[in-house]
């Protein structure tokens, strides 16, 4: 089994994959492509806005000046509305952070996987299992909030940890690739959720549709701005969980021996084995931690917003998380920024749709474009004529 591992990675030159996931690149260089990708995606979004308005398009023939100014005001209006919606007032901030919290946690999950050289496509399923576990604890017990909230959160982490550790174990024991197993476990988790939501132990009594019982009030994540007495200010404990988790993941990755081992295995499994690390066990540990983080992401919509589990409460956040981890260069701080950015795009998109009539789907397009530009760093480099890493490597070889 260990021989298999050593064969998988014989080439340790910086690969395109390393470049895309941001593993092992320097700070400035790691920041460059995501920032340029974001900028390029927004420019593309602007182009889409410009060409998708037929009235404006026909105006170009008769009065180009008016068409240009009209297009410009439309684009700037859309982006201004988006920015206003995301950061313009307290409610904007509240909504941005509310949406950002599960994105950050799921993004951290994928990022930890990347650092260990693993592709965790299964954040979605881990979220589902984590969220469901938290909900079950949430309605099953009657405890003081000071115990019930942490216990439910912990339940979410453990549920996700176990669901994540399964593909880790399969990889370590049988060599089954985690991409396949995590994708399949997503299906298992999502359908298991629908099935369980209809079982008598979980389903809300008196209902036919798939929805769980309400959790106890003592298990609800407290709203941070409840003192302002405005039900629209939904921001809850989840964002603090996400920020603390990012801090802990940073500390774990860069300050502990476990993090050193995870990063070493991710960068070079052969050298890690040579150095006496237990590579197979580390796959299990890293996938477990990744799953636990995704489980915490699942806690957000369930304990923080809906106060129950419903089919699709995970809302594909576990898939957005892959994009987010790429944008954040698999670094906890980068993931936090990327998560807030994605949260802002979503909350701002709502305002944009309301104010300008441009569909919120544009936001999804921009999000997808960001990922494409990051996944194709050569494209960004050629657009902005950024030199490749290879040159800087050969330079430093020149002096040594």
């Amino acid at each position: 089994m260990s021989d298999k591992d050593s064969k998988e990675t014989t080439d340790r030159k910086p690969s395109t994959m390393d470049e895309i996931t941001g593993v092992g690149t320097s700070w400035g260089r790691a920041m460059l492509v995501p920032v340029l990708a974001l900028f390029t995606a927004l420019v593309c979004g602007a182009l889409i806005i410009a060409v998708s308005d037929l009235d404006l398009l026909s105006l170009w023939k008769s009065d180009p000046g008016l068409a240009a100014s009209g297009t410009w005001s439309k684009i700037s209006g859309a982006y201004a509305a988006m920015f206003r919606g995301a950061f313009g007032d307290l409610q904007g901030w509240s909504e941005t952070l509310t949406l950002a919290a599960p994105l950050i946690l799921a993004g951290l999950s994928v990022a930890v996987g990347f650092k260990a050289g693993l592709f965790n496509i299964g954040a979605e399923g881990q979220m589902v299992i984590g969220g469901l576990t938290a909900v079950i604890i949430g309605f099953s017990f009657d405890l003081p909030a000071i115990i019930h909230v942490p216990l439910s959160i912990l339940g979410g982490f453990v549920g996700g940890f176990i669901w994540g550790a399964i593909p880790g174990l399969l990889r370590a024991k049988t060599g089954a690739h985690e991409v396949i197993t995590t994708i399949m476990l997503n299906f298992v988790a999502l359908n298991l959720l629908t099935y369980l939501l209809k079982s008598s132990a979980i389903q809300q009594p008196g209902r036919d549709d798939a929805r769980s019982k309400l959790i106890q009030e003592s298990a609800r994540l407290p709203r941070l701005l409840s003192f302002m007495d405005d039900p629209r200010l939904r921001v809850h404990l989840g964002i603090l969980i996400a920020l603390v988790a990012a801090g802990v993941v940073y500390w774990m990755l860069f300050k502990t021996t476990l993090g050193f081992e995870i990063r070493a295995v991710g960068a070079n499994p052969d050298a890690s084995r040579y150095a006496g690390m237990n590579v197979l066990w580390l796959y299990v540990a890293a996938m477990g931690i990744a799953g636990g983080l995704a489980g915490l992401a699942g806690v957000n919509p369930t304990l923080g917003l809906q106060y129950r589990a419903t089919p699709g409460f995970s809302a594909a956040i576990g898939f957005d998380a892959i994009a987010l981890a790429l944008l954040g260069r698999s670094h906890p701080l980068g993931v936090v920024f990327a998560g807030i950015l994605f949260g802002a795009l979503r909350s701002g998109g709502q305002e944009m749709q309301a104010a300008t009539g441009i569909s919120i789907d544009l936001v999804l397009v921009v999000g997808a474009l960001i990922v494409i530009f990051i996944a194709a760093p050569a494209l960004i480099r050629s657009i902005y004529r950024v030199k490749t890493d290879d040159v800087s490597v050969s330079i430093t070889k020149g002096i040594a």
Partner: protein
């Protein structure tokens, strides 16, 4: 033809890779370009081949200034390059590889290609027009299918038009002319490295190069293949081709070159001819200080047995026996060298001793303790230092900093961590001490190992492994692919470890290294130890015979 580099300077941000380099090569001569790894040879050749553009200076072909914007310009000017790492398609035949990109084509291919292109363009235009006038999607889909069919047909006909017979006869013609015997129909993947190199040379000649650059061509060849390669270079020379031969091996450059140019730190530091230079003089010019090509060591004073290997049998990755019933011992204060051609079980032997590969049968005993079943961590902590044969695959985590690499296998111990939390300041202090002590050339302890030259990467590994007192040192290919200065340095350190009482097992395919370092020599052939001797009792010729399977 005459190729001249005049005042070439190449600056990368913050670094000068080449400074005011002047170089000339003419038809019918072999110019040797000598320099350590990182001296700027490759940068210079990449400028000459159009891969980089020079910051300052000119490239002149027959006295005329030329600008190369890419390799195609250089090829058009008659310059060819044989890279150190071959650029061949393994599943294609020799002839196919040679003509790749400049394929001779059968006549009558053009109308089909033209037709295909016209069809594609028409289809696209029509689709757009239909789209504009809002014709139903059915027509659009039909157009796309039709278009794809035309493009596919054109492509197939174009592909068939490759004139393979013509390609083969051209390959055979070049082979015969320069003594580059190779079967044009053989698949690249079936050819040994030496023959693959011939294919690369034929490729360059097929593109009608007049000046041919060889980048470290002998690094991958066996001694016999090197001799044949020299023959090829001479026949190229006889045919009036100009040759630039890049190397850092001193004996080779004196044997085959007409003129020698020495580069150091990006500058030309000397120009000479084999007649007026010695290996010693060239080495000094290359390194910039007097160099000792000999290893000086006192007689060994062997002590107690440290490593005892008994009847060890090990399988390779595919489950075939790689090491069969091998027994030997290494004493404190002696260096035992294992000689052998690559692939005769040395790799598996070392991996079994260091716990990286389970043995099938037999035992390894370290200072009385059976370590046969130990994990790599157990063997390491029991006192085995290991310099692995592939430093980039196993010895280092290249994206990690020098500091992180220095603590790579001791990070779980005091003072670098308490077992859970790393102490990076202690780690960095240790790394800085070792950088100083082992003269590792790196911008800082925080620089990624990938930015260091090969020699300095190896020094990081040697520093790490020698920085703790290990009773046994296992060193595989400790100086492979590194420069003269670093080789000298690493050899001194190995002898120093011996004199401090360590038992040392060296595995090397370089006979000179085995002869220079070892107190005792074991020769491995097909997984067995076929001879045991000492440097005083044998010659490299005899060792070569044992390595080829002759029995003692």
């Amino acid at each position: 033809m005459e190729l001249e580099l005049r005042g070439i300077t190449k600056r990368f941000p913050g670094v000068i890779a080449n400074e005011d380099v002047n170089l000339t090569v003419r038809s019918g001569e072999i110019l040797g370009l000598l320099g350590e790894n990182g001296a700027g040879k490759s940068t210079l050749m990449n400028i000459m081949y159009g891969l980089y553009s020079a910051t300052e200076g000119d490239i002149l072909v027959d006295g005329e200034v030329r600008a190369f914007h890419g390799p195609s310009d250089a090829i058009a000017a008659g310059i060819g390059m044989v890279h150190q790492h071959f650029m061949l398609v393994p599943v294609m035949s020799v002839a196919e590889n040679v003509v790749l990109g400049v394929e001779p084509l059968k006549k009558k291919r053009t109308p089909w290609m033209f037709l295909g292109l016209v069809a594609a363009t028409l289809g696209l235009l029509l689709t757009m027009v239909f789209n504009l006038f809002g014709v139903e999607e059915g027509i659009e889909g039909g157009m796309v299918v039709l278009l794809a069919a035309f493009a596919g047909l054109a492509w197939i006909l174009h592909k068939d038009a490759l004139d393979i017979a013509e390609s083969r006869s051209e390959v055979e013609e070049i082979s015969a002319k320069y003594g580059l015997a190779v079967d044009p129909d053989a698949l690249i993947e079936d050819l040994p490295v030496g023959l693959q190199q011939r294919v690369e040379i034929i490729k360059v000649l097929f593109r009608e190069a007049e000046i041919i650059i060889f980048d470290e061509p002998t690094a991958v060849l066996t001694p016999q293949e090197v001799e044949e390669f020299f023959g090829i270079m001479r026949s190229l020379q006889a045919d009036g081709k100009g040759v630039i031969f890049i190397t850092h091996k001193l004996n080779e450059i004196n044997e085959v070159c007409d003129r020698i140019t020495v580069l150091r730190r990006g500058k030309v530091v000397g120009e000479t001819t084999p007649a007026e230079s010695t290996e010693q003089g060239l080495a000094e010019m290359m390194v910039g200080r007097p160099v000792d090509l000999q290893v000086h060591k006192a007689d060994a004073k062997p002590g107690d047995v440290v490593l005892e290997v008994q009847h060890l049998t090990v399988d390779d990755d595919r489950g075939h026996p790689a090491v069969s019933d091998v027994s030997f011992s290494v004493r404190a204060g002696e260096i035992v060298g294992v000689a052998g051609i690559q692939g005769n079980g040395q790799t598996e032997l070392v991996e079994a001793i260091t716990g990286l590969r389970p043995g099938i049968s037999g035992v390894t005993i370290l200072n009385g303790e059976d370590i046969s079943q130990g994990s790599p961590r157990h063997v390491h902590d029991a006192g085995v230092a290991h310099i692995p044969e592939d430093r980039q695959r196993m010895g280092l985590v290249l994206p990690f900093t020098v500091t992180e690499n220095v603590v790579l296998n001791t990070y779980h111990l005091e003072p670098f961590s308490n077992g859970t939390v790393m102490d990076w300041s202690a780690s960095k202090a240790a790394a800085e001490r070792l950088i100083e002590q082992y003269d590792v050339r790196t911008p800082s302890a925080e620089a990624p190992a990938s930015t260091l030259s090969g020699g300095n990467q190896q020094k990081v590994i040697v520093a790490r492994e020698f920085s703790r007192t290990a009773p046994l040192v296992v060193a595989s290919q400790p100086t492979r692919g590194i420069d003269v200065g670093s080789i000298e340095y690493i050899h001194e350190r190995i002898v120093e470890q011996r004199d401090n009482g360590a038992a040392i097992l060296i595995v090397s395919t370089e006979l000179d290294e085995i002869m220079a370092l070892s107190d005792r020599i074991l020769v491995m052939y097909e997984g067995r130890i076929v001879a045991e001797t000492t440097p005083d009792d044998t010659t490299t010729t005899d060792l070569g015979l044992y390595m080829a399977g002759a029995t003692a």
